[in-house]
């Protein structure tokens, strides 16, 4: 009986003070040319507003991260969905993962072709199958069964992606080795009115990758993780080293076992990764109480978050944060 009272008190507490819903997204870590900052700002700021509107109207964190990622998947500024980078053969092969921090259910896909919203397919894996992770063959069959719209071959390929591949090939020929890409993976984490967390990540991978290459994005604990008891995170950067560091799980374990803030854990883990593997990346996330964490060891990582109705916070460079006032920016274009 006392237990029930406690539950109802807690519920009441969360409804009366739980208005502080939060969503945070990233638009990829890497070396981003200043000419592309505006496009990244616009896309991430839009994505978090879409997610925030869902959270504010009592939507779930899962719906919020999916919708926010979807908006970046159709934005060619990002390496996900339309605008994905190309394999060495000029094809788009996308990976995505979504995880529900309440139920700990997870859905992941790899090698997905010719659909717009890989993240939605990942969610279908979570909801409609007994599995966590499906390969190209399994995922495409599920997409068909679930009535996804299939695009004509090449629809997702942009001019910019083609150019990147040409550059990559040129560098390969001159044996300059691996070219560090601009990244551009997208991902979000959200905290809803019931205190539930979710995380989602979607990517086209790496320019010039071998067909069949699987990066960190769809790996639970590598690129994506959510657990109501700890936090929710999404990673971006050089997939091979993020995978080796099991980056987002490492961050949650630092938070849990070392009892440091998620923010500190995120930055430390990114720095340790770069020190050890000489390659960089970044993460965004929320701890179990909805506090924001942003960490990256790459020169840039675009990010944005919203935890109040009036403003969106955003940035791309180390230690520089901007405020986007929604009312003000309605009357004038703030990103020009």
């Amino acid at each position: 009986m006392r237990f029930l009272t406690l539950i109802s008190l807690l519920t009441l507490f969360s409804y009366s003070f739980g208005g502080n819903v939060t969503i945070i997204c990233h638009g990829g870590a890497g070396s981003v040319a200043p000419s592309r900052f505006i496009g990244k700002y616009r896309g991430t700021v839009l994505a978090v507003q879409i997610g925030y509107n869902i959270l504010k109207t009592n939507g779930t964190s899962l719906d919020a991260v999916e919708a926010a990622v979807r908006s970046m998947e159709v934005d060619e500024e990002f390496n996900a969905g339309y605008g994905s980078v190309l394999t060495s053969e000029g094809k788009v092969e996308m990976d995505a993962c979504i995880m529900d921090g309440e139920t700990m259910k997870v859905g992941a896909v790899t090698g997905v072709q010719n659909i717009f919203h890989t993240i939605t397919l990942a969610r279908k894996v979570m909801e409609k199958t007994r599995y966590n992770f499906l390969s190209p063959e399994g995922a495409m069959k599920l997409a068909k069964d679930e009535g996804f719209q299939f695009l004509p071959e090449g629809t997702l390929v942009t001019e910019r992606a083609k150019l990147s591949l040409e550059n990559w090939k040129r560098n390969q020929n001159q044996s300059l080795g691996e070219q560090v890409g601009e990244g551009g993976t997208v991902g979000c984490a959200a905290y809803d009115i019931n205190g539930n967390l979710a995380a989602a990540t979607s990517t086209g991978g790496l320019t010039g990758k071998m067909s069949g290459r699987i990066g960190d994005t769809p790996i639970v604990g590598g690129g994506t993780y959510a657990d109501n008891k700890l936090g929710a995170l999404s990673a971006t950067g050089t997939g091979e080293v993020i995978m080796k560091s099991v980056l987002v799980y490492d961050i949650l374990k630092r938070y849990e076992y070392k009892q440091i803030s998620l923010q500190q854990a995120a930055q430390e883990a990114c720095d340790d990764m770069t020190e050890r593997y000489d390659d960089d990346g970044g993460v965004i996330g929320l701890d179990k109480d909805g506090n924001v964490a942003i960490g990256f060891s790459s020169p840039q990582m675009s990010w944005a978050y919203q935890n109040e109705p009036e403003n969106v916070h955003y940035g791309i460079e180390h230690e520089i944060s901007h405020i986007y006032n929604i009312a003000e920016c309605k009357s004038k274009n703030c990103f020009q």
Binding site: G111, L134, R213, K244
Partner: protein, 337 residues
């Protein structure tokens, strides 16, 4: 304690509801694999080579769900996955959806050595394997009668609605959904650690299902600074709990010993997610950790001239190793690989 680490090759033959009729064959297989690995280590072989040899031996043995003897998808096909990690260089190789080769673990090592990537899957992985001139078997060559039987039983149960009362996370509870992955962890005389894990997945899986085995931090993890872990059991559960990495992080951040970390992580996983599994661990000082929440898990390691092994919860048998027997085994393994 001497400064030079005593080499160990610790192997598991999979966690699950192993029927009593298969206990002896499993034990024989893991003991042989542990001997082969150990023999290589005391002849100055590297940990990486030792885990490959041990896993190769079990991939050939039809009693294990890896290589020959792998379980079947709903379509009656074999789709294998494997991963390997070198604790010294932190290089890794992972493959999934591999068909028609005897040794997926060797394909994983080739991914590690020959590509700029960590992980290849399905058509990309199989194309790479072809380019690397692995011996390709005829379709169906890896299928055993036992695997066919298991699939038949599984299908029958599906027809009878056997799963209706079960939560989705409990699919590992069915004894026909065998998920007995194999794996090896070794520490060599230089103190380098390596891990290899290989599997056919679970009976009746949808073609294209990817389990925990090829995922770093879930099925396999290794770092000389802390130790190495190979896991086995219900893949979806192990994946959610990042079992291998949890054990490593317990050793790193909480200072737990190999046995405590392995036991606590396995128990926490099953408590939280219901699905069962097990793990084997060697830490940087050569301490061994073995634990499982399933009914049985076959494991074995040789240290000096003693073979340690078990399969039930509290087993820990010891047996003096006859060196002649080891030599003949190594010869056989050498020929078949």
């Amino acid at each position: 304690m001497s400064k030079e680490p005593i080499p160990i090759c610790l192997v598991h033959g999979g966690a699950g509801d192993i029927p009593a009729s298969r206990v002896q064959a499993k034990l024989n297989g893991v003991k042989q694999a542990a001997q082969i690995g150990y023999h290589h280590l005391i002849n100055n072989g590297s940990a990486l080579e030792a885990v490959e040899l041990a896993v190769i031996h079990m991939e050939l043995d039809p009693v294990f769900n890896a290589g020959y003897g792998s379980v079947l998808t709903t379509e009656g096909t074999v789709e294998m996955e494997a991963s390997v990690m070198d604790g010294k260089t932190l290089k890794v190789g992972c493959v999934t959806g591999v068909v028609d080769i005897m040794h997926p673990i060797s394909a994983a090592i080739r991914v590690m050595e020959k590509t700029p990537h960590n992980f290849l899957g399905f058509h990309g992985a199989n194309r790479f394997i072809k380019q690397q001139e692995f011996e390709l078997l005829k379709p169906g060559a890896l299928i055993t009668d036992q695997a066919k039987e298991a699939l038949e039983h599984w299908k029958e149960q599906q027809k009878n609605g056997g799963f209706k009362g079960f939560a989705k996370t409990e699919i590992g509870h069915n004894q026909h959904e065998r998920g007995e992955t194999i794996g090896a962890v070794a520490i060599d005389i230089l103190g380098n650690i390596a891990v290899a894990t290989s599997t056919g997945g679970i009976t009746g899986k949808l073609p294209g299902r990817i389990g925990d085995t090829p995922l770093l931090g879930c099925g396999t993890y290794c770092d000389n600074r802390f130790g190495g872990v190979s896991t086995t059991g219900h893949g979806e559960t192990i994946m959610k709990s990042c079992l291998a990495h949890d054990i490593i992080k317990r050793i790193d951040y909480l200072g737990e010993d190999a046995q405590t970390a392995t036991e606590t992580a396995c128990n926490n996983m099953t408590e939280r997610f219901f699905g069962k599994g097990g793990a084997i661990t060697i830490d940087k000082d050569g301490n061994v950790g073995i634990s499982f929440t399933s009914k049985r898990m076959a494991w074995a390691y040789q240290k000096l001239n003693t073979m340690h092994y078990g399969i039930e919860k509290d087993d820990h048998f010891e047996q003096i190793v006859d060196q002649n027997e080891v030599d003949s085994l190594v010869n056989v393994a050498g020929k078949s690989s």
